[in-house]
Symmetry: none
């Protein structure tokens, strides 16, 4: 069983090796301009080998997102488990988590939003699709729980918690995409972090009930 285990570990390592290469190449060239050969070169493997680990190009692409979503899921759990009780504190922890998620892998997270917003989505295998779906839903639900607590506590405005979570997530992805595409257009430094900060502030203020409300 030790041997079988090691095999499994090696297989997983190889998988990661490919994912890392893919991440780099996709980030640099985008989904369509990146070729499987590019990725194989970057991974120092042959094209054929990629297909031993991923069914096709689209699945490989989507797999990148899975890692982020998994990380997001873990962070969401932490927020609930570790953060101080109280919706305000949890919201803050949530925001912190989002920065970490972005930092965890900025290139891939942009990729993920591209995926989200792309025809590619339509061609994924059902299994991968449902994995993504489940992970997304799980994280959105985790976020929603925070908002729900706040609403029940009378601190947050009465908007459907899931809707708030969607808005929060939309804001996060919207800012990242828009700021990074501004960068493509203007060739200047991106202001993702700074804009995210302001955006979260606006959001936090926006859902909080002030005294006079």
């Amino acid at each position: 069983m030790g041997i079988r285990e090691r095999k499994a570990r090696e297989k997983e390592r190889r998988r990661q090796q490919i994912i890392v290469a893919a991440k780099r190449v996709f980030s640099q060239k985008g989904f369509n301009k990146a070729t499987m050969e590019d990725i194989a070169d970057e991974a120092e493997l042959s094209p054929g080998t990629l297909y031993l680990y991923f069914k096709n190009k689209e699945e490989l692409y989507a797999s990148l997102s899975l890692r982020i979503l998994q990380y997001l899921g873990i962070r969401m759990e932490h927020v609930h488990r570790d953060a101080e009780p109280g919706p305000e504190e949890k919201l803050e922890a949530l925001i912190e988590a989002m920065y970490d998620v972005y930092d965890f892998d900025p290139l891939t997270i942009i990729n993920m939003f591209h995926l989200q917003s792309s025809e590619t989505l339509r061609n994924l295998s059902p299994e991968l699709m449902s994995q993504i779906k489940d992970l997304s839903k799980q994280s959105i639900n985790d976020m929603a729980r925070i908002f729900e607590e706040g609403i029940e506590a009378g601190i947050f405005i009465k908007v459907h918690p899931i809707a708030l979570a969607d808005i929060f997530w939309s804001l996060f992805s919207g800012v990242i995409l828009w700021e990074s595409s501004k960068k493509v257009i203007n060739q200047k430094k991106d202001y993702i972090k700074e804009t995210l900060e302001s955006a979260f502030e606006v959001f936090s203020r926006g859902i909080r009930i002030s005294i006079e409300d």
Copy 2:
């Protein structure tokens, strides 16, 4: 001269005919899966004809966005010219405008955000690129002016107006993309309008200075 005019009109009509077809096809299949032949078929023209009106596939794609951006620009002007004076009123008018922009052409607006967030952008002709850039910048500036007025009036929080405009725009596009991709995943009706409404409410509340601030 009457004849020349008619020719010009016909040429413009043909252009529109292609644009309409392209819009439909791109919306259905996305940029990469859509072929020029698909579009030609939809427009009931031959592939070659498309190239009499658009330099290549990418320019055709980008042209769709241009129309939206132009409409957005017009609406932004109206907001400044026609809306009741006062930042509050203008913000409301701005939000109204955004709904109209979305309604003007929902499919294309989703497309535009895909374009924005895609490698495609890198291959556009410089002219088209700069047109898009200018139009975007113009509209963002128009939005920023509203926020600036509000800040000066002491009604809105002191965040750089351009940043607020970016956030507003990011929120708008983020919601549309996320909701429409949720639809792909869940096959359910999309909640774009409803979510936008809540999002704008959160945003409006978020930038307003309440008494105790």
Copy 3:
């Protein structure tokens, strides 16, 4: 009949206008890279019009050569009619004529040799083909007559006169092609005239019977 004549003249003029444009464009871009639209633009006509005067692109191309061949034919006649009697003198006149032919239209003459040496030849209409054939043959025969006289006079070596004409013509075209392709390779000035001069000298010496032969 005056009117009909004028029409015919105008038609011919238009034809020449096209030929002049074609010459320029073909010389610049070569047969395949040159498009009918290029030529139409250069002639300040519409593409459709070209087809009123020439059956297709290949015929237009070949027509350029006809002008040269006609000029060559005329010069050959002159040589026989005007040159001092005696093969030596006629050979000299022939060589002079070749320079003139080259000067008459250097670009087109290179074109003609390209035509000669090209698949294009295979696709010409039978009529044009036979025109070219006749003109070529006529000129070759005229040249051959000079050599024949020289042989009969015991001045030139006993090689079949037609063969000598072919060799003469081959030398002429070979030098022009080789020198002009060297120019493409080396970007230097071409040495066509200088090389032609030496070539003709070698040829003349080569066919002359010296005393000891």
Copy 4:
């Protein structure tokens, strides 16, 4: 190591297989009418495979010439190394070599002259271009050395040796092109060999200094 060697040999064999097919197709249809698919069919390979061995159509075309030029180069060396000393003997050896070059691959040699005299030349990759250039120059230089020796020995006329080499080469290619295009026109047997023979005789006589000179 044995395995790597075999792979290399197989790769080279495959290359040759393509070259042979290309030669046949190009000779039959000419550069422009020949399609990559034609060649792939002839080679019993798929179109994509051609691109594993040649960057594009033009490079494939040019590669054919390279082989001839290489052979020419080898023969030129032999002439210098093996031929009896003395310019006369070397000139004879040179002429022998030219026949062999022609026989080595008549179809391709005609192709090469087409290439030489064609717009195609302008689009070659710089590397291939410089290879062709170098090989050509080398052979021309080798020829020139023969003439130089003859001039120094007082046997050949005082014309710049490089010019004589150019003339010699022009005569060779001119005869081949003209005779083969006459064949297209007349559908008769070609007289390339016979005409070459006479041409070389004329040339040899032409550069030799006779007693009375």
